[in-house]
C-alpha cells in the first residue's frame, strides 16, 4: 500500500498544469468570459442569450494533441494508454484552470466517436434534463430532440434543457468520477485563492488571515479539499461505483462550499464580476447537477450499507 502519487504521476500533473497555463491562462479565461458576456450589463434585458460562449476549436485540438481525450485509449489504438488515476489528475487540473467545454463527454467518446480522441470532433452528451455545450458540439450523445436553451448561470457553460420526463441515459461511473476530479480542482484552487487573499489583504492594520474567524474559514476549505482528494484518488484506483459515489459527494461539497467560503474571505471584491471566485462557484454548481446530482450518490451509498452488513 503506497497511496501517494508516483514520480510519473507527479510529472504528469506538472506537465498538464504548465500546458494548460499556455493554452488557457488567466487572460484567456478573462477574454472568454468577456466574449460570452457580450459587453456585460449592456446585454441585460435585451433578450440576447447571455452565456453563449464560443468553444475555441484551436484550444480543443490543442487539448487533443496533449492527449487529453485519448488519455485512456489503448496505445495500440493510437491512444496514450494511461488509466483512471492519470485521467483524474488531468481532470483535476482542468477543473483548477476552469477549462471550458464538454470535456468529460468528449473524453468518454474517445475511441467510440471518430475524431473525438484528437479533438477534431466536439462531443456533448445529454445528462438527465440538461446538455452542456449543445450548440458547439459536432456530435451529441443521447436524445436531445426538443432541447431549448436556458440562460446559463455559468458564463462559460452554455446549457440546454431537454424535455422533462425523458429517461436519462445510464450514467457512466467514470463520468461521475471525472466530474468529481474537476470539483477537486476547483476546491484546490479556491483554497489557494482564499489563502492568498487572507495573507495579502489588510484591514485593521494587519492581514485579515491573522483573524481567527477568517483563518478558520480558510482551514475549513483545506480540510474539505484534502478529504475529498483522498476519496477521489482512491476511487480512481479501485473504480468501485460505491467509492466513486463517495468521491462525488465529498468533491461536490469541497468545491461548492469551498468556493462560497472563498467568496466570503474575498469580501466585497469577491462579489464583483472581475473576481475569479464567482466563476469557480458557478462552474461547481453546474457540475453538481450532473448525473442526477448528489441525491443519487447518497441513495446508492445508503443501499450499499445493507450489503456491508451482510
Amino acid at each position: 500500500m503506497r497511496f501517494r502519487l508516483t514520480d510519473d504521476q507527479r510529472a504528469l500533473r506538472v506537465g498538464v498544469r504548465e500546458a494548460l497555463a499556455r493554452q488557457f491562462d488567466g487572460r484567456a479565461l478573462r477574454a472568454a468570459v468577456e466574449e460570452a458576456d457580450g459587453g456585460g450589463a449592456a446585454g441585460e434585458g435585451t433578450g440576447r442569450a447571455v452565456g453563449a460562449p464560443r468553444l475555441g476549436r484551436g484550444l480543443w485540438r490543442a487539448l487533443g494533441d496533449l492527449g487529453f481525450f485519448a488519455l485512456r485509449v489503448p496505445e495500440a489504438d493510437g491512444g496514450v494508454g494511461l488509466g483512471l488515476p492519470e485521467a483524474v489528475l488531468v481532470f483535476e487540473e482542468a477543473g483548477r484552470a476552469l477549462l471550458p467545454g464538454p470535456l468529460v463527454a468528449t473524453h468518454l467518446a474517445a475511441g467510440a466517436v471518430p475524431g473525438a480522441a484528437t479533438g477534431e470532433t466536439v462531443v456533448a452528451a445529454v445528462d438527465g434534463g440538461l446538455v452542456e455545450w449543445l450548440a458547439a458540439a459536432d456530435v451529441v450523445r443521447g436524445d436531445s430532440a426538443g432541447a431549448v436553451p436556458l440562460r446559463s448561470l455559468d458564463p462559460l457553460t452554455p446549457l440546454h434543457r431537454v424535455p422533462a420526463g425523458r429517461p436519462a441515459s445510464g450514467t457512466d461511473p467514470v463520468a461521475v468520477l471525472l466530474t468529481a476530479a474537476e470539483q477537486l480542482g476547483t476546491a484546490t484552487r479556491v483554497c489557494e485563492l482564499a489563502a492568498q487573499h487572507a495573507r495579502a489583504r489588510e484591514q485593521f492594520g494587519r492581514p485579515i488571515g491573522a483573524f481567527q474567524a477568517v483563518a478558520h474559514l480558510c482551514a475549513g476549505i483545506l480540510v474539505r479539499a484534502e478529504t475529498a482528494r483522498a476519496a477521489v484518488y482512491a476511487a480512481a484506483v479501485t473504480a468501485d461505483p460505491a467509492d466513486i459515489a463517495a468521491a462525488r459527494i465529498l468533491a461536490d461539497e469541497a468545491a461548492v462550499r469551498g468556493a462560497r467560503d472563498c467568496l466570503q474571505v474575498h469580501g466585497g471584491m469577491g462579489f464583483t464580476w472581475e473576481s475569479e471566485v464567482h466563476l469557480h462557484l458557478k462552474r461547481a454548481w453546474v457540475r453538481a447537477q450532473r448525473a442526477g446530482g448528489v441525491t443519487e450518490s447518497e441513495e446508492m451509498l445508503a443501499a450499499a450499507l445493507a450489503s456491508e452488513t451482510a
Partner: protein
C-alpha cells in the same frame, strides 16, 4: 497510487484473521466501565495475548500496510480496544522509542509490549488546556532527583497506571515553550493524589492528579532538560496521525448497524434520513482513505506524521458526532434511554472535538502550518 497490499501483507492478514477467530472466543467477560482494576487486568491480558502471538509491536515497527491491516481486522472481528494500553502503546511508547536513550528504551518499552505496565498522560492542567505550553507544574533539581509540585487534569487511567508521561516546567524564566521537560513519573511515588473526575458521560473516565513534592529521578527524563516541548510534539503528531485509524473502522461498523436498526423500526422509509446515512457512508469511506493517504505520506517523510494529522482529526471528530446525532434520529425517543448503547456512545462522542486539541486549535494549526497564514490570536 497503490492501494493493494503485498502478498506478505495479505499473508499477515490471513494469519491474523485465523488467530483472532481462535482467540476471541476464549477471552474473559468484559469488565463493567466503572471497574478500573478489572479494566486494567482485561486490557493488559489482551495485550499479553497479542505479545505472545507476535502482534504486540505492530503499532511501532510494522510497515504502514501491516499496521492498517491490524487495525482493520481486529476492529472487524470485534477484538478488545487498546484501552488502558493507549498511552503506553500510542503516546509514551513511540515517544520513548524516538527520543529515549538505549537504557530508557530497554527499561520502559518491553513492559508496554508485554502488557505489564500501564501509562497515563500528565499533560493538561486546570490552567493549561488548549494553551498546553502554559503549564505550571514545577520541577526543581535536587541532586539526582527532580522535585515536582503541581496538578494535572484529564489524566485517563490514572487510578491504575504505573507510569505517567509528565510535562513539567523546569525554567520559569524562559519563553513558555522553552522551559518544559518530559519526565516518566512512577505513579507509586510518595506525594501523588489521584482524584477521579466524573464526566457528563457518567462513569469516571478521567482523573485529576495532584503532585506534592514528588521526587522523580533525573534518569527518568526523556530528552534534554527544557526540551520537553519538542519531545511532546513528537507524541502529539503520533496522536493525530494514526491513533484514530481503528476507530474509523469501528464507526463504519456502527453505521452499518444503524442502517439495520433503521430498517427494523421503519425509519429507513424516510428518504432524508436514508440520504443522511448514505452521506455518512461516504464520509467514513473517505476518512479511511485519508488515513491511508496520511500513513503513506508519513512513511515517505521518515515516519513522523505531519500536519495532515490535524486535517484527519478535525474531520473525524465531527463525523463521529454526526454519526451519533444520526443515530438519535433513527432511535427517536429511545435516544434518551441510557440503556441503548447508542446513547452513552453519543455522550462520549462529545469529547472528540475537545480532546487531543480542540477543533478550533486544529483549525489554527492548519491555517498557520499548511496555509501559511499569519499567527493570530
Amino acid at each position: 497510487m497503490d492501494l493493494s497490499y503485498t502478498p506478505e501483507e495479505e499473508d499477515f492478514r490471513a494469519r491474523l484473521r485465523e488467530w483472532l477467530a481462535r482467540t476471541l472466543p476464549g477471552l474473559p467477560p468484559r469488565p463493567s466501565p466503572g471497574d478500573w482494576p478489572g479494566r486494567r487486568a482485561y486490557d493488559l491480558g489482551w495485550q499479553r495475548r497479542l505479545y505472545e502471538a507476535g502482534y504486540a509491536g505492530v503499532h511501532w515497527d510494522a510497515t504502514p500496510g501491516v499496521r492498517l491491516i491490524f487495525l482493520e481486522e481486529t476492529e472487524k472481528a470485534g477484538a478488545p480496544y487498546v484501552g488502558a494500553g493507549f498511552v503506553g502503546l500510542l503516546h509514551a511508547g513511540p515517544t520513548i522509542a524516538a527520543e529515549g536513550t538505549d537504557a530508557q528504551r530497554a527499561r520502559w518499552l518491553p513492559p508496554i509490549l508485554r502488557g505489564e505496565e500501564v501509562w497515563c498522560q500528565g499533560f493538561s492542567e486546570p490552567d493549561a488546556g488548549s494553551d498546553l505550553a502554559a503549564l505550571r507544574t514545577r520541577a526543581w533539581r535536587d541532586g539526582d532527583d527532580y522535585v515536582v509540585t503541581g496538578s494535572k487534569i484529564w489524566t485517563s487511567h490514572a487510578e491504575v497506571a504505573d507510569w505517567c508521561e509528565l510535562l513539567v516546567r523546569t525554567d520559569p524564566a524562559a519563553p513558555k515553550h522553552r522551559g518544559i521537560t518530559w519526565l516518566a513519573l512512577p505513579m507509586d511515588a510518595p506525594g501523588i493524589t489521584v482524584r477521579p473526575l466524573r464526566t457528563l458521560a457518567g462513569p469516571a473516565e478521567f482523573a485529576e492528579v495532584f503532585l506534592d513534592e514528588v521526587r522523580v529521578p533525573v534518569a527518568n527524563r526523556v530528552g534534554d532538560e527544557n526540551d520537553g516541548w519538542r519531545v511532546t510534539l513528537v507524541t502529539l503528531s503520533f496522536e493525530r496521525g494514526t491513533a484514530f485509524a481503528g476507530e474509523v473502522v469501528a464507526c463504519r461498523r456502527a453505521l452499518a448497524e444503524l442502517a439495520v436498526e433503521a430498517r427494523k423500526n421503519g425509519r429507513w422509509d424516510d428518504p432524508a434520513l436514508r440520504r443522511r446515512l448514505g452521506r455518512l457512508n461516504a464520509e467514513f469511506r473517505a476518512l479511511w482513505r485519508l488515513t491511508q493517504w496520511n500513513v503513506s505520506a508519513a512513511e515517505a517523510s521518515g515516519g513522523v506524521p505531519g500536519a495532515g494529522g490535524s486535517v484527519f482529526k478535525l474531520r473525524y471528530s465531527h463525523a463521529r458526532q454526526e454519526l451519533y446525532d444520526a443515530a438519535a434520529e433513527v432511535l427517536g425517543p429511545d435516544c434518551l434511554d441510557l440503556d441503548r448503547p447508542w446513547t452513552p456512545d453519543r455522550l462520549s462522542s462529545l469529547a472528540y472535538t475537545i480532546a487531543a486539541g480542540t477543533s478550533q486549535v486544529q483549525h489554527s494549526i492548519i491555517a498557520e502550518r499548511i496555509l501559511g497564514l499569519p499567527k493570530g490570536r
